[in-house]
C-alpha cells in the first residue's frame, strides 16, 4: 500500500440529514461518489466525510458530525494482490491502462495504480463506486484521479454503459481526451498550431506508459514499459 506524508488514514466524520429540511431532491445522491447517502439516509460505512453533499444541499439539511468510533479509510493492502499469478494480472492491467506504476493514481489518498487494479482483479470492482468504496480512490477532490479510473476500467474491458456510478460527465470509452489518444497526424497538427506545448516531443517521450508526474523514466522507451517489469520484480522480492 502506498504511504506518504499526509495520507488520510482514519474517517473521523460522517454526515447527518435533518428530515425537517430534506426535500428529497436527490442532489446529494447524485454527487456522492461512494453513494453513501440516499434521500436522507446515510450509510456510515461508506461516508468519507468529504462534505460535498453539504456544500450542494439547497436547503442546508446536511451537516457533518464526528463518528462515535472513527473507522480506517478503506484500502487494499499489498498482501492481497502481491502474490504469484495475481501480481502478474495486476501489473498487466496497470500497463494496459498506460499508468506508471510509480505514480499516485489518487493524489489525495495516494493509491498506487496496482491497488486500484487489485480492486478490479481481486475484489471484482466494476465501476467508480466500487473502486471508491474499496480503496478510497476518488473519495475526496476527484480532480486528479477520475480520468485515470475511467481509463483503467476501459483497459479492464468493463463496458462503460454498464457503469451506473456517479460520474460528473459522460465517461464514454473511459479514455477521455488524453495524450495517448492522439494519432501521429493529430500530434503533428497540434505541434504546428501550438509549438510551445511540445506535443510531438511529449507523445514520443510518453509512448512507454504513464510518467506524467514522475521523472524515474526520463527517456524515450519502447512498449512494453520496462519499468513495469522492474517494479514487479521489486514487489515479488518484497513478497518473498
Amino acid at each position: 500500500m502506498a504511504k506518504g506524508y499526509g495520507t488520510l488514514t482514519m474517517l473521523n466524520n460522517t454526515v447527518r440529514v435533518d428530515p425537517e429540511k430534506c426535500t428529497q431532491c436527490g442532489i446529494c445522491n447524485n454527487i456522492c461518489t461512494p453513494e453513501a447517502i440516499d434521500c436522507g439516509e446515510v450509510d456510515d460505512s461508506y461516508c468519507f466525510g468529504c462534505a460535498k453533499c453539504i456544500g450542494l444541499c439547497p436547503t442546508k439539511a446536511i451537516s457533518i458530525v464526528p463518528r462515535e468510533e472513527p473507522i480506517p479509510a478503506p484500502r487494499i493492502p499489498d498482501s492481497e494482490w502481491n502474490v504469484p499469478v495475481i501480481r502478474d494480472q495486476v501489473f498487466d492491467l496497470v500497463e494496459k491502462s498506460r499508468l506508471d506504476p510509480d505514480f499516485h493514481m489518487c493524489t489525495c489518498m495516494k493509491n498506487s495504480p496496482m491497488e486500484v487494479a487489485a480492486a478490479i482483479i481481486v475484489k471484482g470492482a466494476k465501476n467508480l463506486r466500487d473502486i471508491c468504496r474499496l480503496t478510497s480512490t476518488a473519495s475526496r477532490c476527484g480532480s486528479h484521479c477520475r480520468a485515470l479510473v475511467a481509463r483503467m476500467l476501459a483497459a479492464a474491458g468493463i463496458d462503460p454503459k454498464e457503469d451506473d456510478s456517479k460520474w460528473c460527465a459522460d465517461h464514454g470509452s473511459g479514455a477521455y481526451a488524453n495524450i495517448y489518444a492522439l494519432s501521429p497526424e493529430k500530434a503533428e497538427e497540434l505541434e504546428a498550431k501550438y509549438p510551445e506545448y511540445r506535443v510531438k516531443e511529449n507523445v514520443k517521450r510518453l509512448n512507454c506508459g504513464h510518467e506524467l508526474n514522475n521523472v524515474n523514466n526520463p527517456g524515450i522507451q519502447p512498449i512494453p514499459n520496462p519499468r513495469i517489469q522492474v517494479i514487479k520484480e521489486e514487489y515479488a522480492a518484497k513478497a518473498n
Binding site: Y5, R146, Y176
Partner: protein, 470 residues
C-alpha cells in the same frame, strides 16, 4: 555587465503581515498572532529595492479601501475602453466569470473592485443583465463563505450572483482534442467575461503557458476534465486542455471579452483586457515572467533555510513577495524552463523536494495543505491550532509532524535542530518579504547574480520557448 553589490542598508524593519482571512466553512486555523510579529529578528526587504526595474504596484497595503477603489476603477476603465460591446443586446444575460485565487493579490481588493466596475460598465453600456459567477474548486458554499465575510461584493450584486462548484451539472464541449466537459452554470447565459489573473501559482501544472486560460480546464470544468488536465497530459502539453476549451465553438460563441489582473513582486500593477484573449495572454507572459524571473531565481538559489507558512489560502499557494511557496518547495527545478519535461517529482517511492529548505513550520493556514503540500515536504512543525482546526476534516497520520504550542516555540526548536536561523515567512506579502536577518543578508548576496542570470539568460530563453518576441 558587472554584478552589483547590494548594501545591508536595504534591510528594513519588519512590516505588518496582510490581514488574515478566516477560511471558508470554518475549516482553518483561527487568526493566530502572525509569525512576523511574534518572532525575533525578523526584517523586511523591499522588492523594488532588490529589483529596481520591476513594474510598480498601483495600490499598496497602506491605502484605504476608497483609494484602492478609485485607482482600480480608473485602471479598469482605461483597460476596457476599447472593448466592443455592440453585440450585447438589452436583456442579454452576461456572466462575469471569476475564480477563487484572484482574491490572493493585495488581499483580493483589486479583483473585487475590478469586478464591480465591469458589472456597472456592462450594464450601463448595454442594458444587459449581468451576474457574478464564482467558480471554486470545492463546493458552491465555499464561494459564499469566502466572499460574504471578507468583501462587499455580494452587497454590490444584490442577489445577482451564481456560485458554481465542481460536482454540479456539466455540459459537453467538442474541442480540437476530443470531447471535454465544462460546468453548466457558468455558461448558462448569452455572454461570458473571463476575469483571470497572472499570479505565478501552480507553475508545475501550466509551466506558465496559457496561464490565464487555466480556469477553462479547472474552475469552469467538470472533475473529469480537471483530472484530464492534471493527469492525462505531460506537464508541458497540459495547457492544451484550457486552450482548446477556450477556442471551442461553444466558448467562442459566448466569449464577450477577457481581463487579466497583472502583478509583479511589488503588487498589483494593472489590467489587460481584450476580445482576443490569446493576444493579452501572450502579453501577460511577457510582462509577468520578466517581473518575477529575478525573485523566482533568488528563491530557487537560497541555501540552508526554513520556511514559515503563515497566510490564508492553501499551504503551497501563499505568496512571499508575490511568489508562491512552491517556488521554494520545488526549487530544485526551474518550472518555467520548457526544455525540462517534468518539474514536480512525486510518486509512490519518491517525494522530491528542495533539500535546501530544511523545515516547514505552519502557523496560520487554510485547508487542503495536507493533500497538496505535506505529501512531499519533511520536517514539518505545526502549531496546535492547526491540529485542532484541521485534523477533524483531514485526519492524517500526524505522528511524523511536530506539534508545538506556538510558532515561536516551534521556530526556536527548529533552529537548534537544523542548525540554521535563515527563515522566510510566506504570509501573503507583496511589495516586501519578511525574512530573518541572516536570510536577508544571504538574499542580498544572491540578488546580483540571480538578476544577471534572469536578465541575460533565463528570461530570453523563456520568451523564445514560448514564441514571444522581446
Amino acid at each position: 555587465m558587472p554584478t552589483l553589490q547590494l548594501s545591508k542598508e536595504l534591510i528594513h524593519e519588519k512590516v505588518p503581515s496582510p490581514p488574515f482571512q478566516v477560511a471558508p466553512s470554518g475549516i482553518s486555523t483561527p487568526s493566530l498572532p502572525r509569525a512576523a510579529d511574534v518572532l525575533d529578528d525578523i526584517v523586511s526587504l523591499k522588492m523594488t529595492e532588490l529589483f529596481p526595474d520591476i513594474d510598480r504596484a498601483i495600490i499598496t497595503q497602506e491605502m484605504d479601501k476608497k483609494t484602492i477603489r478609485e485607482v482600480i476603477r480608473k485602471e479598469t476603465e482605461k483597460a476596457t475602453a476599447h472593448i466592443d460591446l455592440s453585440k450585447v443586446k438589452p436583456g442579454d444575460k452576461v456572466h462575469l466569470l471569476i475564480s477563487e485565487h484572484g482574491f490572493i493579490p493585495a488581499g483580493g481588493w483589486a479583483y473585487c473592485e475590478q469586478i464591480k466596475y465591469l458589472d456597472e460598465m456592462i450594464r450601463e453600456r448595454t442594458g444587459a443583465k449581468v451576474s457574478l459567477c464564482y467558480s471554486v474548486a470545492g463546493s458552491p458554499q465555499e464561494a459564499n463563505d469566502i466572499l460574504a465575510p471578507n468583501y462587499d461584493i455580494l452587497d454590490h450584486f444584490k442577489g445577482r450572483f451564481v456560485f458554481s462548484g465542481r460536482y454540479e451539472e456539466t455540459v459537453g464541449v467538442e474541442t480540437d482534442i476530443g470531447k471535454m466537459y465544462l460546468m453548466k452554470k457558468p455558461f448558462n447565459c448569452d455572454w461570458v467575461v473571463h476575469m483571470h489573473y497572472d499570479t505565478p501559482r501552480e507553475n508545475h501544472f501550466h509551466r506558465y503557458t496559457a496561464r490565464a486560460l487555466k480556469a477553462f480546464g479547472m474552475s469552469y470544468a467538470a472533475p473529469e476534465t480537471r483530472s484530464s488536465l492534471h493527469s492525462s497530459w505531460e506537464q508541458r502539453t497540459a495547457s492544451l486542455v484550457p486552450r482548446v476549451m477556450y477556442e471551442s465553438q461553444f466558448v467562442q460563441s459566448k466569449f464577450l471579452f477577457g481581463t487579466i489582473l497583472l502583478t509583479s513582486p511589488d503588487g498589483v500593477t494593472g489590467l489587460l483586457a481584450d476580445r482576443d484573449f490569446i493576444k493579452i495572454e501572450k502579453e501577460m507572459e511577457k510582462r509577468t515572467m520578466r517581473n518575477f524571473a529575478k525573485w523566482y531565481h533568488v528563491l530557487r538559489h537560497m541555501k540552508n533555510y526554513m520556511v514559515v507558512i503563515d497566510g490564508y489560502r492553501w499551504g503551497d499557494y501563499i505568496p512571499a513577495g508575490g511568489m508562491e511557496t512552491a517556488a521554494v518547495t520545488e526549487g530544485f527545478v526551474d518550472m518555467w524552463d520548457l526544455d525540462l519535461p517534468q518539474v514536480r517529482v512525486s510518486g509512490i517511492r519518491s517525494h522530491e523536494y528542495n533539500k535546501e529548505s530544511k523545515a516547514y513550520l505552519f502557523n496560520n493556514c487554510w485547508p487542503c495543505l495536507f493533500k497538496s503540500f505535506l505529501h512531499y515536504v519533511p520536517n514539518v512543525y505545526w502549531v496546535k491550532e492547526v491540529e485542532d482546526a484541521l485534523m477533524p476534516m483531514y485526519p492524517v497520520d500526524s505522528s511524523q509532524f511536530q506539534i508545538r504550542d506556538n510558532i515561536k516555540i516551534a521556530v526556536d526548536e527548529a533552529i537548534q535542530k537544523y542548525g540554521t536561523d535563515r527563515m522566510i515567512i510566506f504570509n501573503d506579502s507583496y511589495g516586501s518579504v519578511s525574512v530573518s536577518r541572516s536570510l536577508a543578508e544571504h538574499i542580498l548576496e544572491l540578488v546580483p547574480e540571480a538578476t544577471k542570470e534572469a536578465d541575460e539568460v533565463l528570461y530570453p530563453k523563456y520568451m523564445k520557448q514560448r514564441n514571444i518576441a522581446i
